[in-house]
Amino acid sequence: MTLLPSYLVAMWATVRRDAAIFVSYRLRTVSQILGLLFSLTTFYYVARLVRPDAVGGHDRYFAFVVVGIVTVAVLGAALNTSQNVRLELMQGNFERMLVSPVGPAAGVISLALFPVLYASVVAVVVLLVAVGIFSIPLSVAGVPVALLVAGLATLAFIAVGMAFVALLIAFKSASGATWFISGMSLLGGAYFPVKLFPGWLRWVSQVQPFTPSVDLLRHALVGARLVEPVWLEVLKLGAFTAVLMPISMVMVWLAVQWSRRRGTITEY
């Protein structure tokens, strides 16, 4: 077996392990989907209450916000990787990753995979429910583009998640991940368009991968208008992924080496 496939097998084994642990909690999926359905219902009625002219009316706003909600869910899953690593540290399992041939970097990436895959599946279920129950106008023709964008976006989100893992390994705290998710929900336009922001704040929406991800997904799935051409938004998202992934990997590597020298690597 050559090297890359054996690493992929090792990472997939972590996905299978996480899936096995996840399904042992039988009610977890039901409660998560119910939670998202409550969210959808809330926004369905909020959409009827407000005058969302900026996105073209009540129904358009609901479709707009549904895509925002599911994208935030995937972002949250990727950024929570630091919490998964913390759990591994507390249970003494991170040590096993440290003494494994695959090493800590591939190990922490693999810890992100199941939560992100699961969040993506839930996102699809929620979108289908939104189509079936709330009749959002989902474009089937846009699904292939949406899948491509979702793939790129997921990689970019995992890269950001890895940066927080590096902070956790080095400083034993990655509480910033929580406010980063909230900040992206707000400044990345999950619930309302960023054009409502004052000009001096709008730049924030341009310097992170969440905004192009959610804008492109909305464009592909529910026909929302884009400010920039599609190719430019895709290029932006691809550039974020290409830049963030190696940076975050280097951060994890440096954090591991630094913590090994300080002797704090298995502390939590």
């Binding site: 077996m1 054996s6 690493y7 097998v9 090792a10 997939w12 084994a13 972590t14 299978r16 392990r17 096995a20 642990i21 042992s24 909690y25 249970q91 003494g92 399992n93 040590e95 096993r96 990753m97 440290l98 003494v99 494994s100 041939p101 695959v102 090493g103 190990g107 080496q257 090994r260 020298r261 002797g263 690597i265 298995t266």
Partner: protein
């Protein structure tokens, strides 16, 4: 341990009285080589050496015991040997490979049982743990099933294969932790207080597994607190005192 039947019959090895006070000089490269390792704890003026200039050569087919009082530095030394901690000075090599130079190949050759009872996933089955670990250890696909079946049998865990870790007794969990250290057929095994919670059967299984590893040319470092009776007959016996390794 009181039952002498559980002891491994001694291999041809230097008698305890003739053990060297210095690390043995061997012409062939040692399986595990610890050279001039120092490790400090604390920072600034509160910095103190917990490990001082430790040298240990473990030839193929030999076992070394390291004892010492609580806090003497046994676990720190083992953690340095696993690569979990970096030494402040010195090097550790397994078959001429260092952690820094080749993480993957170094760890492919290493098995480790940490002290305590952690490192298991409560809701994962016994077989699930082993199947996960053989993949993390990059064991070839063709060898995985046989490797898992072998350690299930070796540590008499076969009937517990489907049982979750949180439904095992402490001794059964320790057997699983041992099985995880053996499953990828390491060359060097680092055992930190491995008899924790083991009954006599468990110790017998561990001794047999260690003996088989040594017969196959592997090496073992067995750490135990001072005063604990020796479970296997070791070729080298060391004590850590004041951060230094001296012959027992």
């Amino acid at each position: 341990m009181s039952d002498p039947a559980l002891r491994i019959p001694p291999r041809p090895a230097p008698a305890p009285s003739s053990l060297p006070t210095e690390p043995p000089r061997v012409s062939a490269p040692a399986l595990l080589s610890i050279d001039g390792v120092w490790r400090y704890w604390g920072r600034g003026s509160a910095r103190w050496p917990v490990i001082r200039d430790i040298n240990l050569q473990l030839p193929s087919g030999t076992a070394a015991s390291i004892t010492g009082r609580n806090g003497a530095g046994k676990t720190t030394l083992l953690r340095i040997a696993t690569g979990i901690l970096a030494p402040d000075q010195g090097t550790v090599r397994i078959e001429q490979r260092s952690v820094r130079g080749n993480w993957r190949e170094y760890h492919r050759r290493l098995g480790f049982v940490s002290a305590g009872d952690r490192g298991l996933y409560a809701r994962l089955s016994v077989r699930g743990h082993l199947e996960y670990w053989v993949r993390l250890a990059l064991v070839r696909r063709a060898d995985r099933r046989a490797a898992v079946d072998e350690v299930l049998e070796r540590f008499e865990l076969g009937s517990l294969g489907k049982r979750r870790a949180d439904r095992l007794s402490q001794g059964q969990r320790q057997r699983l932790r041992l099985a995880l250290a053996f499953v990828h057929r390491p060359r060097v095994l680092l055992l930190d207080e491995p008899t924790n919670s083991l009954d006599e059967d468990g110790r017998r299984l561990l001794c047999r597994a260690v003996e088989d590893l040594l017969r196959a040319g592997g090496g073992v470092i067995w750490c135990a607190p001072a005063g604990e009776e020796e479970v296997i007959a070791c070729d080298q016996r060391w004590v850590i005192e004041g951060g230094r390794l001296r012959a027992a």
